[in-house]
Assembly symmetry: C2
Homo-oligomer: 352 residues x 2
DNA sequence: CGCTTGATAGATAACGTTATCTTCACTCAA
DNA sequence: TTGAGTGAAGATAACGTTATCTATCAAGCG
């Protein structure tokens, strides 16, 4: 039972080699299995490893070899169901590809987003996946492009998940979903039902998610030949509380609105609550729809008609694409489809 | 503009040193700032770093120095709101202490939990935080204890968050919350309201979370001198669908139950839905309470009376305690309090 | 029977940092 | 002046792996 004195701390490959009576490289060979080792020798080494309770030092391995086997995941806030499901997709796919998953949050702060990407560069992550809507500011785009190139030069990859590409010439992988199409389909659904005065509620202009959803909203109106009253496009955060506040303000001012298109399901939850508090019935007095199809949507009363976003698949694809990209394309892009899910929150308008 | 030829990949500290015309250690000193460097030299180095767009190699640094600056976070599933909020707490605290956060999921599989902890050992994470109820199986406890000791020997720390300690002699930090007390208070609340036939619904026996909550349920009954009908303690997963199924089965068999204590808010959501489907009103025909106080609880109809768990604080404490533990205590323990939040889902029983 | 060949295993050199030990030029007191 | 003290930098040696090159031994072949 010759063993390294306890309390010494970490056991290294050297200790294993000594105990097994072989050289250090031989142990390394047993570990990686990429080189022939005599069965007897292998056994001795394995026994020594077990005896000493040895685990490799991932840092030393990363430094010596080339591959790092880590995927970084950058997100506003893990708490939102929207992100949580993408996170699950990322984590699952990463795990199934034998990768570890580094989690960072930015709290919606573009400054912090840049700082975090920098940090990931230090970690030599194989891919850095940035999730959620992007800010349209010129300076932010420039800085992200800069990091995309820096990562690319270091053999890594910037992945944009749920936000538009930075440009054809910037080396990134983009995994987006069809915000514009989903908003278009949903708006068409409302217009088909006879609604003509629809409020689009929530979202900050300049955030890609908002802009794309509003674009779909406008296009559907144009196709139906319905003029949009710009004052019905209300700005706000993606929060339930904002849904409540905006709904109150809207109904205090106008009587003619028959439907509310909430920019997200969370906002829609607030809208429904505000309507209930005001004594209005959904969908009889007011139709309400959302966007995202988070689990909450089907739990609301009434169950919310909304646009389904394939969150989990989004996360999986982000990892999958960034890890095995075959051709040396500068800029890979995938757009996943969205579709409307009809539940119980839409009816024909009463007052035309 | 003498610079390393592009396309070479990673720039190292050597390149910076060469460009700045100083030695490698000098650059390192500028980087860490723990040693005096002449202002002029510092400036030259900083300029070179910017010029070459240099970032340190975290792996090399981890290998050379001792500190690793990573916290690992092991959880069943990021998707559940319960875990998501703990995750947020962990991530926030880790970030504010300058640590990175490694995320792993186990999908409730004890095997995978062990594998993941092993993996974290390779990463030399400063702390490995395992979140959520634990399985009581002897073999699992033994293996976790083993890893706790292994981590401890390597200067790291196993943190149990929301699950009981592994024993006095096992080197761990435990950050728990008062399951038993919360369940006790809530049960007392129901008993005080006059309920005498209460079903405890959901949870798997053997999972610490379940066992602790049931214990509180039983203690309150004992204190009120009310006999518990064991057949009213129903087993099931922590899922909404199980809440629906169990409620249907329960009400098909018995007429005398006046209140349901759902083991979690998710189950309670299912209970409420099933009751509504059966044409029963809450709380007039049946009182319902939950446990966890996830955001969903206040959105349900009626708003759910439940036990508040300080999720985010739990995550923060886990990181804080594991990072600065002063005395060399083998086994630190903290238990955070829980309290009931009264909303609209409890009334006095109609039928006594 | 000597020489090539294949299968193993050891020796040595990276990998990119930080820690530690020296060295070197100065300044200041004796 | 000269020796001690000080501030700044270089030299060198880790850190724990894997990669690469070299050495050994046995078998196979001409």
């Amino acid at each position: 039972m010759a063993r390294k004195p306890d309390g010494e701390g970490r056991t290294t490959i050297k200790d294993v080699a000594a105990l097994a009576g072989v050289s250090v490289p031989t142990v390394s060979r047993v570990l990686s299995g990429n080189y022939p080792v005599a069965p007897g020798t292998r056994l001795k080494v394995l026994r020594a490893m077990r005896e000493l309770d040895y685990v490799v030092n991932a840092h030393a391995r990363a430094l010596a070899g080339a591959t790092t086997k880590t995927v970084a995941f950058v997100v506003d806030d893990v708490t939102g169901p929207f992100y949580a499901y993408i996170a699950r997709g990322v984590e699952q796919q990463a795990a199934s590809e034998g990768r570890l998953c580094l989690l960072c949050t930015t709290h919606g702060d573009p400054e912090r987003e840049v700082a975090v990407v920098e940090l990931m560069r230090e970690q030599h992550a194989e891919a850095v996946i940035v999730v959620g809507g992007a800010h349209a500011e010129e300076s932010h785009i420039a800085r992200m492009s800069y990091f995309a190139r820096a990562l690319d030069k270091a053999g890594s990859r910037l992945v944009l998940c749920g936000r538009p590409s930075l440009g054809e010439d910037v080396p990134t992988t983009t995994v987006h979903y069809d915000n514009e199409g989903g908003a278009h389909a949903m708006t068409a659904h409302l217009l088909s039902a006879g609604h003509r005065t629809i409020s689009f509620m929530g979202g900050k202009p300049g955030l890609s998610t908002t802009d794309e959803r509003v674009a779909g909203f406008l296009r559907a109106h144009a196709e139906f030949g319905v003029e949009v009253d710009e004052s019905l496009i209300l700005e706000g955060e993606f929060l339930k509380s904002h849904g409540i506040k905006l709904t109150r303000e809207l109904l205090a001012e106008r009587e003619d609105v028959t439907a509310i298109f909430a920019a997200t399901d969370m906002i829609a939850a607030g809208v429904l609550k505000a309507l209930r508090d005001l004594g209005l019935r959904t969908p009889e007095d007011m139709s309400v729809v959302g966007f995202d199809d988070i689990p909450l949507a089907s739990d609301l009363t009434p169950a919310l008609t909304t646009v389904h976003v394939p969150h989990e698949q989004l996360g999986r694809e982000a990892v999958r694409l960034s890890l095995h990209r075959g051709e040396p394309a500068v800029n890979d892009q995938v757009v996943l489809g969205t579709h409307i899910v009809v539940r119980d929150s839409v009816a024909r308008p009463r007052r035309l």
